[in-house]
Symmetry: C2
Subunit: 480 residues, 2 copies
């Protein structure tokens, strides 16, 4: 893919970036009035409309605000974000009465309650999804499908859908064909198929720490052992650390989320991804790359995947549309490299095939370009919400609170006072109809007892602000 | 459920049964002319319409045929069915060049080719499914669903669907509520979840011999060992034999298809089912009951399930709508008894949840009584086809051919000359665009090399007849 030159960007974006830089280096301080739209237009030689667009963009990012009949003011400085949470050091003592498994059940069985402000789920709210357009594609599928979606789908997945999913890899420099893709029921089934294709019960699998609980739970359920590797809040896991561990442990596979890890939100830089792939290729250890959040980036370009550095087929790329488009459609996929044949066999054995109609509908939706259009809006909304939530935490939580700085995805990782027990906080917050995910559930050993995962999927509104205020005051009370 | 008295049946059915008995005891021989419709009506004191209905019924069963401008003639006598195939004795020598796994791939990857007469797949043709009505239910679901089916479904399954599936158990005397049911992606996922809930890698699981290859493949893929128990062509597995084996082997679970086993078509009588459940309950060994064909019965009443004798929760009942209603919708379910909590956890871990819209659509379809209506037609069609195919085999295959006598389901099990290699026959038949399932694939060790599984799912027509004729002549040629 050709890299964009700066000049390719629309003018309003260039103007906005100039202003953002001035806010960043505090040339413009919080509370400062910005030039009027007319002045800005004259100063830069741009139309009033373009000047307005630049301010609108900065407002969307939460950096400036308009005050009625007065103009635009600097509202926030990205430099003033809270400090970063720490990497995992060693298991911290956890003073709780319930097991991690029980916590997970308790926290996530309530997710559908509507009277809650729910910060615990890392999934898009329906309001951010293109429901009407998807309905159209489904009705189209119903009409276009030869047998009304009644027949068994190919085990490998609908050929048209596989072609569209292969084309998505273009965004990160991957060149694949329909034959390289295997459709699954969401990303979780994808991970299970990949683990089964690459390991035997009793094997050791390297995972991130902290990580999504679904990953270590399924590893345990497959009779595998998990070896946890600490995640840096910005750059993810360290390939050198993995190399050291490879000397000591018989690691048979890795499951990592290199782009916007969950819950840390970190993104491995390109050179680290490349080094990781070179390392696992040298050792012939399959890397299962969970890229479920890869399309929800806030920067200008989609981060590359580990798969894009994979020359020998040792990377099994997994993704899904559950976080970006349609959780209830259960569409995930794998590009399994050298394990493709085995993965197809496993899919056939374990669930025969996927749902015919939803695959056909999504194939149609992707083929008419709707997904790209939708993603652009979703990314912008999530970026804005991420910044707003960070401001809210800064405003309402104690000053020593540390917060991750995700460059994509759905969640913030919040580190609180060492004394605080996040599961107790979860239970207290529940009494106020606010739900958060306590840090304990993101490691098999119940570490991170003083951390929270806070989803910013819900668009900012007064209820969200009030919920953050409540959380803040509960934290203050419990830290005393 | 109240048992029907004979007097409950419509009069035409009583008349037809009387005639069937006369054909059975050869009072009426093949080729005999039957009384005219008018004579029949006078003889029995019934209306002409009722008399016609009786003949129509017997014609549907393939017992009589109408000759233009002449009347009805006896066409077939059920007593003249071919002999029954044998139970498995010991592994027979198999002279093939390919592994069983390769055979399975070869045979079943071609299933969607439309220029084939395909006897290899045990699934309903789309022409026998209520496509238009299902479409209506899907569009209804799209409109009625709060979030257009975009949200994650409950891991346990849509509550309305679970209620409807619980009600289906009424037909075999089961009384369950929505909480007792777990929805899965078809019956295969149901079996996998049940096996995972009840066993550890390395455990031994008792299965039928012959059995559906999907069962021993998935057992192997889960790191389990399969112990095969011979199936009687009429009465299925023998609980006493299982009891003997329990003394010798550390069996940790059983996977049986007690009603219309695949490929044998046998149905365990009630007292055997009851004895089996008592046995496994005494030994506290979970019985995974695959009842996927249970609703496709040809007799007057739905056979009871093992689950209906289960008082202690050791039976995990599995079924699906893939064979009876909508393969592509991927709707299966489990009533897991004492393993319910564990099964729900596994479902959550492995695929999170099922497809929201198809679950909603099927819930609607079942709730308005359409399924029952459809099943009545499907059962009748399958019964007719079963008899017609048996006649076809009698007509075109060598006289020593043995054929199963299923009382339900989709398939005939055909035993040929000991010298014949069914996989070679499969390959020869393929050259004539006819596909059959060679017996070898129905046991892990490649037994049954001289058997075929022949599906009668496709309604009888000239092409089917021609395909059977071709098979017959290939068999004669290869047996020489």
């Amino acid at each position: 893919m050709k890299k964009k030159k700066p000049g390719d960007d629309p003018i309003y974006l260039q103007v906005a970036e100039g202003l953002e830089k001035m806010i960043g280096d505090e040339t413009l301080k919080i509370g400062d009035k910005l030039p009027s739209v007319r002045m800005l237009s004259e100063e830069y030689g741009i139309s009033m409309g373009t000047a307005f667009q630049a301010y609108y963009h900065l407002e969307g990012k939460g950096l400036i605000e308009s005050r009625p009949k007065s103009g635009y003011y600097v509202r926030f400085n990205l430099r003033r974000l809270p400090g970063l949470p720490h990497k995992a050091v060693e298991p911290e003592p956890v003073a709780t009465e319930v097991s991690v498994a029980e916590m997970i059940t308790n926290v996530f069985q309530r997710t559908s309650r509507e009277d809650f402000v729910n910060f615990s789920v890392a999934a898009p709210p329906i309001s951010l999804l293109p429901a009407a357009k998807l309905n159209k594609s489904l009705v189209h599928a119903l009409r276009a499908s030869r047998n009304h979606g009644l027949q068994y789908e190919h085990s490998q997945g609908n050929p048209g859908l596989r072609r569209q999913l292969a084309l998505l890899a273009f965004h990160w420099g991957g060149k694949y064909a329909a034959e390289d893709v295997v459709v699954t029921a969401g990303c979780m089934e994808a991970l299970v198929m990949c683990l089964k294709a690459t390991t035997q019960p009793g094997d050791t699998v390297a995972i991130e720490n902290p990580t999504y609980f679904g990953i270590y739970q399924v590893i345990e359920s497959l009779g595998l052992k998990a070896l946890e590797i600490a995640v840096d809040p910005l750059t993810g896991i360290d390939p050198q650390q993995l190399e050291t561990l490879l000397q000591k442990f018989p690691i048979k596979a890795c499951v990592f989320v290199p782009t916007f890890s969950n819950p840390m939100g970190s993104c491995m830089p390109d050179e680290k991804k490349k080094a990781l792939v070179q390392l696992i290729t040298r050792h012939q250890i399959p890397l299962i790359e969970d890229d479920i959040y890869g399309e929800m980036y806030f920067g200008r370009h989609r981060p590359r995947t580990c798969k894009s550095f994979d020359t020998e087929g040792w990377v099994l790329y997994c993704s899904s549309l559950s976080k970006s488009l349609a959780p209830g459609y259960r569409i995930g996929w794998i590009i399994p490299g050298r394990f493709t044949k085995r993965v197809i066999q496993l899919k056939m054995m374990h669930t025969v095939s996927g749902t015919t109609l939803t695959q056909e509908a999504i194939a149609h939706f992707l083929s008419i370009g709707r997904y790209e259009y939708h993603l652009k809006k979703l990314r912008k909304a999530l970026h804005t919400q991420c910044l707003r939530y960070q401001q809210g935490i800064l405003q309402y939580f104690p000053p020593d609170t540390k917060v991750s700085r995700p460059q994509g995805g759905f969640v913030l990782w919040v580190q609180l006072d060492r004394q605080l027990n996040a599961y107790r906080l979860y239970r207290e917050a529940l009494k106020h109809n606010v739900s958060v995910a306590p840090g304990q559930v993101f490691s098999a050993k119940g570490q991170f007892g003083n951390c929270l995962r806070l989803s910013y999927a819900r668009p900012w509104d007064a209820e969200v602000e009030e919920a953050l205020r409540i959380l803040g005051s509960l934290i203050r009370k419990m830290s005393k």
